[in-house]
């Protein structure tokens, strides 16, 4: 503990420390000891990569069921959940199956994405996933404006094991077929 310096009298020790650059010497000793006990914490990045944590939130992807059909039901919840308006979904009925919907178009503007994972949490059918990809530097920003095909491709290469599709498990069925059955249908 240094004594309070407000005494007004010249503290001899403090004075000696000042004129001998004591504090500087302490600092220089530290740097020298780091030089002598050289142990870098650097990772030579392109050559060696760090182990990613299990819950790493990387590039977003759209997923499929094991029979190759898309999981997405076009509910727009991801769009609503996204804090930075990355996602744009154009929802449509599945042709020939009026009870089912799917995302006709699905866009993600990854230049704005902050990888919070809220869309993944919001998705009722687990159609969105976060991969462990992070090397997405591009020369043209427009390449980060991804469409549905690209997002599905990312999911295909990052999630080789797909979820099994059970017909009745599909929330689409439960939601649209059962809950709204009493609502009168629009006459055509």
């Amino acid at each position: 503990m240094a004594p309070p310096a407000t005494t007004g009298r010249l503290n001899l020790l403090e004075w000696l420390k000042t004129i001998t650059f004591y504090e500087l010497l302490v600092g220089m000793k530290t740097t020298l000891s780091h030089l002598l006990h050289y142990k870098p914490i650097t990772l030579q990045y392109p050559h060696e990569k760090r182990t990613l944590p299990d819950n790493y939130r990387g590039m977003l992807a759209l997923l499929r069921y094991d029979d190759g059909t898309e999981k997405c039901v076009g509910c727009d919840l991801c769009e609503a959940a996204c804090p930075s308006r990355v996602i744009r979904v154009v929802s449509a009925e599945v042709p020939g199956e009026p009870t089912k919907r799917y995302s006709k178009e699905y866009y993600m503007d990854m230049t704005r994405c902050l990888f919070c994972g809220m869309c993944v949490d919001a998705c009722p059918v687990d159609a969105l996933g976060m991969t462990r990809e992070f090397e997405w530097a591009v020369y043209d920003k427009r390449q980060l404006h991804l469409n549905k095909a690209q997002l599905l491709a990312i999911g295909d290469r990052s999630y080789p094991v797909r979820e099994k599709r059970l017909e009745l498990q599909h929330p689409n069925t439960a939601f649209f077929n059962v809950a709204f059955q009493h609502i009168p249908q629009k006459s055509e």
Partner: protein
């Protein structure tokens, strides 16, 4: 006539050799600095070009060589071009009077050659100081001619800093000059022969240790190095006086800065630490019975001392933060200057009574 031609050839060879050595040293320094700085901060420094990044200086040189040479709009083109040259030439020209090795004379073909001394002018140290001051013009003009506020501020800071610290450099040297009684670096170095107790930093009548400390601190300030790198403070002034420079002109400034570092280290070695003299009387090679090869040991000692100073530069850079401007000025005028002046008085008295 032929003798004149031969002399000219010998001198030119010496100049080429010394310039070459200095440039190679600067190349080495750019790598060594980044490496040492990295190691001190638990990093690795450059690792990509060549094994362990050893070819990095060449990559840098090639990059700078092929970069576009920009002149900002509204710049004074003449001064903008002149400034790097004005900075570089004084930095390199000072090496002419540095004694690199023993003051021996070889008789070759009727010519007496001093291989380690390009020129032994009797005002050697004054010559170096004078040219070091001219080097400041390069910085100031470069800052002014760029037509940029950052450059101008860097140049102005440099002007004030150089004026303040040139003075301390000059005054800290005076003690040595009083003891040696000469301004010639060759004579000063010769007078320090025979062991480290004869070096002027430790010599009997008045050890110049305080002068050495003042000199080193002022030299750091004069070469615009951390912690006195206000003219090129990158967190305040982008890059200070060479913000607007690119390509080869930028390389010139860079070269000048490092050549200046080498120069002040050489001067410190020659004035305070015995130059090429070993810290023991004579040389080991001389004792082994090969006195004609003693110059190897002597030049090695010179190189070792110089590189120790250069290491100190890196060490300071790795450790210290930048001073504030008023702190810099207060330190220069109210701390360094009185110490240097007191040193002169004490040295003068000691030399008068014991010398």
């Amino acid at each position: 006539m032929t003798e004149l031609g031969l002399r000219l050839a010998v001198s030119l060879t010496q100049i080429a050799a010394v310039t070459g050595i200095v440039i190679v040293t600067v190349l080495l320094l750019t790598l060594a600095e980044r490496k040492v700085l990295g190691w001190m901060q638990d990093r690795m420094g450059p690792m990509e070009v060549g094994p362990y990044g050893t070819l990095q200086p060449f990559a840098d040189a090639i990059k700078l060589f092929f970069k576009e040479d920009l002149v900002p709009a509204g710049a004074n083109k003449f001064l903008f071009t002149m400034a790097p040259i004005l900075a570089l030439i004084p930095a390199l020209i000072g090496f002419a009077v540095i004694p690199w090795g023993p003051n021996v004379t070889y008789e070759i073909g009727g010519l007496s050659i001093k291989p380690f001394i390009i020129s032994d002018i009797n005002i050697g140290i004054l010559y170096i100081l004078a040219f070091a001051s001219i080097g400041a013009y390069g910085i100031i003009l470069g800052g002014w001619a760029s037509n940029s506020k950052y450059s101008l501020l860097g140049g102005l800071r440099s002007a004030a800093q150089v004026i303040s610290y040139e003075l301390n450099v000059g005054l800290s040297i005076v003690g040595v000059l009083l003891i040696a009684g000469s301004l010639s670096l060759v004579k000063i170095t010769d007078a320090q022969a025979g062991g480290f107790w004869n070096w002027y930093a430790f010599a009997f009548p008045a050890p110049q240790l305080f002068a050495l400390v003042v000199y080193v601190i002022s030299a750091v300030a004069e070469t615009n190095r951390v912690p006195f790198d206000l003219p090129e403070a990158e967190s305040e002034l982008v890059a200070g006086f060479f913000t607007e420079y690119s390509g080869l002109r930028f390389a010139f400034f860079y070269l000048a800065e490092y050549a200046n570092m080498v120069l002040v280290s050489c001067v410190a070695t020659a004035l305070f630490l015995g130059g090429w003299n070993a810290p023991y009387p004579g040389t080991l090679i001389g004792y082994l019975g090969l006195p004609s090869f003693a110059w190897v040991e002597n030049t090695m000692w010179f190189a070792f001392k110089t590189y120790s100073f250069l290491f100190l530069f890196f060490w300071l850079r790795a450790t210290l933060p930048r001073l504030r401007y008023d702190q810099l000025m207060r330190f220069g005028w109210k701390v360094m200057l009185p110490i240097a002046l007191a040193n002169i008085v004490v040295t003068a008295l000691a030399v008068f009574f014991f010398g």
